[in-house]
């Protein structure tokens, strides 16, 4: 039950003092400057001013903070590195932001089992760097891997471009320690495969911090392929690139990454970071394995596609992908834009890409599109004139594309999550009953607590429409 009026204000006023008693000074940020810095995440829209920002350095401190907030009816907003592009870490006015970025110890690595135990604030890339010498790597590697945290990856069920071959975060999570909204500490899952019973740890993946704060995780690693090769196929159009990509999958070859850039995306990236891409659309493919199987795969791919570049040395590979990896910077230089992350079934990718372009044109907006031909993700960049009206037009176009993808049997979001930004669109993908069920699950876990309120699920009135 929510506390009302004066008693709630009193509870909040006492919170800072209570936290100051429990935490070392470096774990508590109460200055206006610090609070302002945590008002926004990668969406870059200001949320409310938090009551406090706390930076605990161990699970015990997280539990103390959560209990204190629970007792006083103060909402808690879990936060990793704040790279989220949907406002998933945006605090409402008067909440407490719990940042895990000081919890960055790698606790142990089992090089035989291929598992690693880390604190939630460990950066994604740091996991692979730690595992490198033993021959393993951490497969779910979103493009923010240099900064984003494992805790944030679990909250959004992050996946990289290699999702078809290796899966996403949930497929690599052996166990987690989580602080529930009432401050209870639970350890879920185990290093054994498929321990009996329901996989409750998996429920935390993609819950966007509504069910608790993860403080520690045991992750499953993947053998690092001994060699990789990258190929570039020049294509007439994005649709032709999709055909070639599906042809490669039909050969039984499952690449590590396989990305499509349409003509506009190629031009955008070449202008920003020249990589020698030809005019037109391109298909970039990276395969991994032992050298003899890579030779065999390249031969078979060359039988069905006009491969124009084969990069074998790692520097040559990096330079081939440089343009593709610079796409966010390239888009930023061009002007204000909205980046989408919707997805369609792989077999509908050509139609999805064409549909996105038609919708952008019908809104009078430019778009450049990248796609993961391994999982059907469409990263359309919609350029607008900026300002409120530009943003509105861009959002209207983006929403139309997302809804179209959902109607094709896909999803309004395959990578970034829902956060604040896409709540209203949830009704395009889920029925009122489905949303009510998701709400019941969140409520069952939150009890009287209030974790990351106002995220993911649309307001109840909207869902009922």
């Amino acid at each position: 039950m929510r506390l009302l009026g004066r008693s709630r204000a009193r509870n909040r006023a006492g919170l800072a003092a209570a936290l100051a008693r429990q935490l070392p000074p470096e774990a508590l940020a109460l200055s206006d400057v610090a609070k302002r810095a945590y008002e926004r995440d990668g969406l870059d829209v200001a949320g409310g001013r938090p009551l406090a920002v706390v930076l605990p350095e161990c699970a015990g401190q997280v539990a103390d903070i959560v209990r204190e907030c629970h007792r006083r009816g103060v909402p808690v907003v879990p936060r990793g590195a704040g790279t989220c592009r949907t406002g998933g870490a945006m605090p409402p006015e008067g909440s407490v932001v719990v940042s895990t970025t000081r919890m960055r110890r790698i606790l142990d690595l089992d090089a035989v089992a291929g598992t690693i135990r880390v604190e939630a604030g460990v950066r994604n890339l740091a996991v692979s760097e730690r595992a490198r010498d033993s021959g393993w790597f951490y497969a779910p590697d979103p493009s923010s891997r240099r900064t984003c945290t494992i805790g944030g990856n679990i909250a959004t069920n992050a996946g990289g471009a290699g999702a078809l071959r290796h899966g996403v975060t949930v497929n690599h999570l052996a166990s987690v320690t989580v602080i529930l909204p009432d401050g209870e500490v639970a350890t879920l899952g185990s290093a054994a495969h498929d321990a009996a019973g329901a996989d409750i740890a998996a429920l935390l993946c993609g819950a966007e911090g509504q069910l608790g704060i993860v403080t520690e995780a045991t992750l499953r690693l993947t053998p690092r392929p001994p060699a990789t090769r990258s190929l570039l196929v020049a294509c007439e159009s994005a649709g032709a690139a999709v055909d070639t990509a599906l042809g490669i999958l039909r050969l039984g070859i499952v690449p590590l990454q396989m990305d499509i850039m349409d003509r506009e995306a190629v031009a955008l990236c070449e202008a920003f970071s020249p990589s020698g891409y030809p005019d037109g659309a391109v298909l970039l493919v990276q395969i991994g394995g032992i050298p003899e199987e890579l030779r065999e795969a390249i031969e078979r791919i060359s039988n069905i596609a006009a491969v124009s570049t084969i990069a074998t040395a790692s520097e040559a590979e990096a330079s081939l992908w440089r343009g593709r990896e610079a796409y966010y910077g390239a888009a930023m230089r061009k002007g204000p834009f909205l980046a989408l992350d919707c997805a369609v079934p792989l077999g509908d990718l050509a139609a999805g890409l064409a549909g996105a372009r038609v919708l952008a044109l019908s809104h009078g907006l430019d778009c450049a599109t990248f796609a993961h031909a391994t999982d059907g993700t469409i990263h359309a960049f919609i350029f607008h004139e900026g300002g409120d009206s530009g943003r509105r037009r861009g959002n209207a176009c983006g929403d139309a594309i997302r809804v179209a993808c959902a109607r094709m049997g896909g999803t309004i979001s395959s990578e970034y999550g829902i956060g604040m930004e896409k709540r209203a669109l949830m009704t395009a993908q889920f029925t009122a009953e489905e949303l009510a069920l998701q709400r019941r699950v969140v409520d069952a876990f939150q009890g009287a607590g209030d974790f990351n309120p106002g995220k993911v699920l649309p307001p109840i009135a909207e869902a009922a429409e």
Binding site: A163, G189, G197, I200, E296, S413, F430
Partner: protein, 377 residues
Amino acid sequence: MRLFAPATEAEAAGIVRAHPRIGLAIAGGGTRMVNHRNPALSARSLCGVRRYRPQDMTMTAAAGTPLSAIEEVLASHGQRLGFEPTSAIAGRSTIGAVAAMNLSGPRRPFAGSARDALLGLRMVTGLGERVSTGGRVIKNAAGLDLTRAIAGSFGSLAFITEVTFRTMPVPAAGINVVLPGMRASMLPAVAARLMLKGLPLTGAAHLDGVGLGGVAGAGPVALLRFEGSASAVAAAKRHLDSLDLAVAVHDGGDPWGIVARATVLAPGAGQALWRVTIPETAGGALAEQLAREGADVLTDRRGGLLRLRHGVDFARRLAALVAPMPGASASLEAGPPRAAILPDHNQPGAAMLARLKQALDPNAVFVAANRPGAAAA
């Protein structure tokens, strides 16, 4: 026992709503049904592949579709289920039961579990709601995904009506090899070394004292499988030959069905068969200890799954051995009830499972179905 077998999801929802206070036991094809006092709700009339285009690398099928039918359709397009549900009862198990019981086979540590392959499902909740969760695409970050929590819950949370799962290409080549004389405790490390060389290992088992269809003899023996491109499989064979380990190619049919179903360990009179799930690195050593104590042991999943046959009275000793091992758990797979090992009701997640049950089935319409192994009894 009364059995409902609705032909549509709507009909299933109607049955659930009409029985709010009578526990319903969920059944798939009925291959693992134990005698239950409660009426059963079966998915067997919800049948058929609903959506399959090989280029999507996914398939959506009604829950009651026989696994054999699904495997046949996939094979005709050069695809298969990566998680190898060979422990299912061939021909009769349904895809819904495979999901509900999270049935995976020897390929599990290399290609993921049934749960890993599941992208989404449709279900009837305990309130009679017809809902979907998860999605039909390989990557989906929209909304709370209940798929994996329901998969493996043995029908205690919801009645699954339709599942969508990932498919994988059938590799061009495959080989089974036998390494005689290898100790079980070496299996996890040997398998890890082969994986880290980039060799396409998709099976790593060890047998002690039980033989394998006459091929392996009675001593300890490791059984490995490599599947992949022709060149990768040839490289694996060359690598093993270079190690001078007296490697023999096993070409007497597919031994992995025997491994998955542990048919070589069928208990005789006064005996029982148990299974132990355990972190791989500890599994090999435990297998050796169990063998020393007189058990016939089959180790699979590069040490992560042990099956052992011993006298019925060994139950207490097994429970004592497993209890202090982090992450390990033991259960009875076949044998008399007195050989059962009671599950640990304080297991982590029990309280959270109760919260999930509250959201999905607050009136407790669904009663937990039988656990793995009850079938073989």
